[in-house]
Amino acid sequence: MPKHALSFVLNGETVDWEVETNATLLQALRENGVTSVKRGCEEGECGACTVVIDELAQKSCLVLALEVEGKSVLTVEGLPAAPGKLHPIQQAFVDEGAVQCGFCTPGFIMTTYAFLKTHPNPTDEEIRHALSGNLCRCTGYLSIIKAVKTAAEALSKPIVAGEGGEGDVR
């Protein structure tokens, strides 16, 4: 399979990769060491590979890698402001017990990230609808709904001096 040059912004930094023309974004990310995107079904059913492409949450198994040329791709690795300093969404998932096995978690967090940008004060129903493309078999989802609300609250508070800053992607 011939390889093509691909240039895009990954978690805030421009990367130049060589990818096969038929490679999905999921495959390209994983081959380049971005393993937070999981192959749970590789056909768009489970959401474990969700990333944010230019503000929109997308299942990276349904996007060809070459489609993100010139675009910005955010994965969960790109969220912490500094090592050990979690993004408010990540922190909310920890605090609310919204994580069990953790395999679906990066996908849920990325869907939540894009969703809260457009719905800063979501209702339960909006949350359920927004996250309905992500499957979780462990938690029963109630703690995830709580986490999204907790994250929305945290994000609506002004950033305290000394927190956030350069790497803060909220």
Binding site: V37, Q90, G97, C101, G102, R128, R137, Y141
Partner: protein, 790 residues
């Protein structure tokens, strides 16, 4: 606190941040598929049988072998070993004969996954189709099609009872009292049939394994998405005739298990490649895509129950006669044991003096049934708790009063004869009854719906061999931190959180200074398996003992060092104190490097605490009667009630509210118990509403992905789950705690079934309660009866 003189803010019962959650939300936790193996890595893909039963006439791999990048094509004859946990009836690659659609018949190994993927199309296999048996009742009665004609030659553990010459892979019996006499004395007899289909685990991480043989020593290393490294190691060693220490099994974090990664799953298949001469010691990876998990991995067994019950006019159940057929598919190597588990709990949560139970594992030409959260009990109780409601109605008793009248109260014998231990089930039932407002007829919240409430009780013991053992090590470090080696797989249930809380409780070391890592058979001490809701209890015993052992060493050393009595020393939040002599210091280098004693000599060295546990007095039930003075270690009980409403127009079931409570003995990690209750409840409701594998007449699975095999999404969970627990301490237990991981999955289905009955007046005898079936039944009802068997 107690005579331990240990103080901590992060011990048992406290809210703490779960271990490894930070890595999980940061996406940095590496699951098996995420591990890097470099350019040497080879990829394996199985060629799978397109028929459910047949003879393999020939396999011609030449075209596949000619494809650049293909390294080897392995067939069953290259790897003629049989494996199994309880019954060795499973070949990783079919030899001469295929038994289900999707069975591996060859394994292609190539330099890339894409090459392997395309090469499988070029392995030419000729089959001669044979009749398949897909219907479990036909498989029992008709020996003309035998799934395993060689059953008598298979090795097995003594408590599994296969019937050669039939399709019965295990037969478990209870014989107590005089069942016919009990029925003769009864005023009311009911006999009911209930069915559950095969269902899939639906873990988000599919199976993945990497195997590598060292060409210098011949030793094997396996990295696998497995629940139990030591079970994998033993099953591989036994099957291959190798010593256990020639095999190292490493289990990275797994993305959900629910029993589907218990025992040995795909590891032997992967090893068939790694051990092949053409591979020459390169690592081989076997990743199983979603559709193939559904086709070829363990499922929850389908189940058909016939339950006959005799009841006195006072409402006492005098006798029960059970026939359970578990559809174990082509392998009973693991599925044989849920059959026992349901069998030795076959009076549910009730005391019934006369019991006759036959519980069978039945071979069919379908994917194989194995362990699944609840291990035979969701199947049992989805029948039993419906039958109890039917019986109560028939004799005109309140369903809850009928349950309590016949309840397996503490001290009464379970169906194996062992006395039931202390529990708060009656209190839990009353709380569930009150909280769901069971006796209040409430108006539906949705127009055109009918509302009903249903209750069901739950019970389960850890189902395992009598000698399932655990061990743990607690190591103290130079800076007063601790490391715990406990080979439990923390697959989300939060075992490592609980163990760290236990160590904090015993040593006074703050929780965040205690570290655990995922299992590696080369470094961790032995543990039987991460299954059966046993870990926090059995491994908990070992962890507590190891922490206590470390504390005793530490106290003895400090007593000598400070010239005080051990009883005068306190441990508190990472420090050691002797208030009497006004001495104190934080845990530090002495724990590792020794103490300069008053006699001028250095004493001690690294403190390592050791703990181990095996239940002392479990006796496998008698083969003929099923009786045993102690058949299991303990039972956990609980109750669930569901308030639901149903639309006759569309068949939709809407849930208003769920209330569920369990007697956990002692809550070690409240955050994890709540997580287990909520998660299991939704998994149980998902099974009840949506789930079942569907096969065509040839045995082809029709719903093999998440588009066609629906599991609950977040959209379906638009109702609250009010969970609670009681704490009646278990006698033999680290802190009185008992297993609770599986129990929440056991009875949502019958509670929902009972609620639907109370809403519609239609009794469903088969799961799942899909919209289509509800709709069809509501429209058929007018013409037929209240019972729906379709």
């Amino acid at each position: 606190m107690s005579d331990k003189r240990v103080y901590t803010d992060t011990g048992i019962g406290k809210k703490v941040e779960r271990k490894f959650d930070r890595e999980k939300v940061a996406g940095t936790l590496q699951y098996t598929d995420d591990l890097p193996f470099g350019k040497d890595l080879l990829y394996a893909r199985p060629v799978r049988s397109p028929i459910a039963s047949g003879i393999i006439r020939s396999i011609d791999p030449r075209k596949a072998c000619a494809i650049p990048g293909v390294v080897a094509v392995i067939t069953g004859k290259d790897f003629p070993y049989r494996f199994g946990l309880y019954l060795k009836d499973r070949n990783p690659i079919a030899i001469d004969r295929v038994r289900y659609m999707g069975e591996p018949v060859a394994l292609v190994v190539a330099t890339t996954e894409a090459i392997a993927d395309s090469a499988i199309e070029h392995v030419k296999v000729e089959y001669e189709a044979l009749p398949a048996v897909l219907d479990v009742e036909k498989a029992v009665c008709d020996p003309s099609v035998l799934v395993h004609p060689d059953l008598e030659h298979y090795k097995r553990v003594p408590f599994i009872n296969p019937q050669p010459g039939t399709n019965i892979g295990n037969w478990f019996k209870i014989r107590r009292g005089d069942i016919e006499e009990a029925f003769a004395q009864s005023d009311t007899i009911i006999e009911e049939k209930m069915e559950c289909p095969q269902i899939a685990h639906g873990f988000l991480e599919t199976h993945c394994c990497i195997a590598k043989q060292d060409i210098g020593t011949g030793n094997i290393t396996v990295w696998s998405s497995a629940q139990s490294v030591f079970a994998v190691r033993e099953i591989l060693a036994e099957g291959l005739g190798l010593s256990t220490n020639a095999i190292r099994v490493i289990a990275p974090p797994i993305g959900g298990g629910f029993g589907g990664k218990a025992g040995m799953t795909i590891e032997a298949l992967c090893l068939s490649a790694a051990l092949h001469p053409a591979i020459k010691g390169r690592p081989v990876k076997l990743f199983v895509p979603r559709e193939e998990v559904m086709l070829s991995s363990w499922v929850r067994q389908a189940y058909i129950a016939t339950i006959k019950m005799g009841i006195s006019k006072e409402g006492k159940i005098l006798g029960i006669k059970n026939t359970f057929y578990f559809d174990t598919g082509i392998s009973a190597e693991y599925g044989a044991n849920p059959v026992r588990s349901a069998g030795y709990t076959s009076t549910g949560t009730y005391y019934i003096p006369n019991v006759w139970t036959d519980s069978y594992a039945v071979y069919t030409n379908k994917p194989f049934g194995g362990a699944y959260r609840g291990f035979g009990l969701p199947e049992l109780m989805s029948a039993m708790e419906v039958v109890i409601d039917i019986a109560a109605k028939k004799i005109g008793m309140h369903p809850i009063e009928f349950r309590i009248k016949n309840l397996l109260q503490p001290g009464l014998p379970t169906c194996t004869g062992m006395p039931m231990s202390e529990h708060a089930l009656e209190k839990i039932i009353r709380k569930v009854q009150a909280d769901i407002r069971f006796d209040e007829k409430e108006k539906p919240l949705r127009e055109g719906f009918k509302r009903g409430k249903g209750i069901a009780l739950a019970i389960k013991a850890p189902a395992k061999p009598a000698d399932a053992a655990s061990s743990a090590i607690v190591k103290l470090n130079v800076d007063g931190t601790a490391e715990v080696m406990a080979a439990t797989m923390d697959m989300g249930q939060g075992a490592y959180t609980a163990y760290a809380q236990m160590v904090s409780e015993e040593l006074g070391i703050p929780y965040d200074r205690i570290r655990l890592d995922y299992p590696d058979s080369a470094t961790h001490p032995y543990d039987w398996q991460t299954v059966a809701s046993r870990s926090c209890w059995a491994m908990g015993m070992a962890v507590k003992e190891a922490a206590t052992d470390a504390r005793n060493q530490l106290l003895a050393l400090y007593a000598e060092y400070w010239k005080v009595k051990e009883e005068e020393i306190f441990l508190k939040n990472g420090s050691v104190l002797c208030p009497k002599k006004n001495l104190s210091e934080t845990f530090g280098p002495k724990l590792q490097n020794g103490f300069p004693m008053p006699d001028g000599k250095l004493k001690g060295g690294p403190i390592i605490g050791r703990g181990r546990f095996v239940p002392e007095d479990v006796v496998n039930p008698d083969a003929e009667t099923g009786q045993s003075p102690k058949s299991v270690v303990h039972f956990t009980v609980g109750a669930i009630a569901i308030d639901a409403e149903v639309s006759e127009r569309t068949g939709e079931i809407a849930i208003n509210r769920v209330v569920a409570g369990y007697d956990v003995g002692k809550a070690i990690s409240p955050i994890n118990i709540q997580g287990q209750i909520e998660g299991g409840t939704v998994q149980g409701i998902s099974a009840a509403l949506f789930e079942g594998l569907v096969f065509d007449a040839q045995g082809k699975l029709l719903n093999k992905d998440f588009t066609d095999y629906k599991i609950a999404t977040i959209e379906e969970v638009d109702f609250p789950i009010e969970s609670f627990w009681e704490e009646t301490p278990e006698e033999v237990s680290p802190y009185g705690n008992r297993g609770v991981g599986e129990h929440s999955m056991i009875s949502p289905a019958p509670a929902l079934n009972n609620a639907v009955y109370n809403a519609l007046g239609i009794r469903f005898h088969r799961y799942p309660l899909t919209r289509e079936r509800i709709f069809m039944a509501t429209h058929a009802k007018k013409a037929v009866t209240e019972d729906c068997y379709d």
